[in-house]
């Protein structure tokens, strides 16, 4: 493939982004998607020590909820064997939120402060310690940094003529991004229906080869840029490993 590799952001926020990647094959695009889901390590609670739990829920249920609280994971600061201790101590009447979790490491904090853990009534108390470890989504879904990762082909839209005056108009739904000449247009602008953008015209839609629009959302443990970069690094490391293995 001769086309040059290129990335262009269409939407860019801390936790979600939509961007166009040109010059990659479908297999490579899918490799990046899978790496973002399963190969980027994040921190998550893996063991909980209950000191007191007089709430209405079993220890195991609360532990499961704690495991799903996303924790910020600074890049290249932790190894696979590192453990970060967190603690929680809430007395009722109150609701224990993820923001009540106290971390032993300033770099590791709950990514979201308002995840409810348990509603405590008068006289109930929850006190616990938890260990967070680094692992990948391949190991357990709680370690999945990319929670919503997908891609679509970029689609080129061209007008091919006028629509007949008394012709029935069916909606032409396309989701993602279309290319009009050199311009990129998010389909949200016309409610994903091409007949809204081209009311009286016939259009031809075709996939643009080797151009994919990624929609990525993270759980808050890291930014989209970081997730994408680390996913590509993991692909690169595996390719190097394969190269070493076959060159022996």
């Amino acid at each position: 493939m001769d086309e040059e590799y290129d990335v262009e952001f269409i939407e860019r926020e801390e936790r979600s982004a939509k961007f166009l990647v040109r010059g990659v094959t479908p297999a490579f695009a899918n490799g990046i998607r899978r790496a973002m889901i399963a190969d980027v390590p994040t921190l998550a609670i893996d063991e909980v020590r209950f000191i007191e739990n007089s709430s209405v829920m079993f220890d195991e249920q609360i532990a499961l909820r704690l495991g799903l609280v996303p924790l910020s994971t600074p890049p290249n600061e932790f190894d696979e064997d590192d453990v970060v201790t967190l603690s929680l101590d809430v007395s009722g009447p109150a609701t224990a939120y993820s923001g009540d979790i106290v971390s032993s490491d300033e770099m590791v904090q709950p990514a979201e402060e308002n995840v409810p853990i348990i509603d405590l009534k008068d006289g109930q108390r929850l006190e616990l310690e938890a260990d967070a470890v680094l692992s990948t989504g391949k190991d357990h879904a709680k370690h999945q940094g990319g929670v919503s990762v997908g891609y679509r082909h970029l689609q080129r839209v061209e007008t091919v003529g006028d629509r007949g005056e008394f012709e029935d108009v069916d909606p032409e739904i396309y989701r993602g991004v279309i290319q009009e000449g050199d311009e990129l247009v998010d389909t949200e602008e016309f409610d994903h229906d091409l007949t809204n953008r081209y009311p009286d015209q016939e259009v031809a839609v075709e996939d643009v080869e080797h151009a994919f629009v990624f929609s990525v959302e993270t759980d808050g443990s890291m930014s989209v840029e970081e997730l994408f970069t680390r996913a590509v690094e993991s692909l690169d490391a595996r390719a190097a490993e394969l190269e070493d293995a076959v060159s022996l």
Partner: protein, 44 residues
């Protein structure tokens, strides 16, 4: 094993002779107290 009477809320310890009954109020519903040990739970 320590229990708590669900009616009078007093601590009750059972022996082999009195059966399941609160010695203070005679109520037959006793609640088992949670152990003071720290319980470790893996998150899976």
């Amino acid at each position: 094993m320590s229990y708590k009477c669900s009616r009078c809320k007093r601590d009750v310890s059972l022996d082999g002779y009195g059966g399941v009954r609160c010695p203070y109020c005679g109520h037959r519903v006793l609640l088992k107290e949670r152990s003071q040990d720290v319980k470790t739970v893996p998150v899976q």
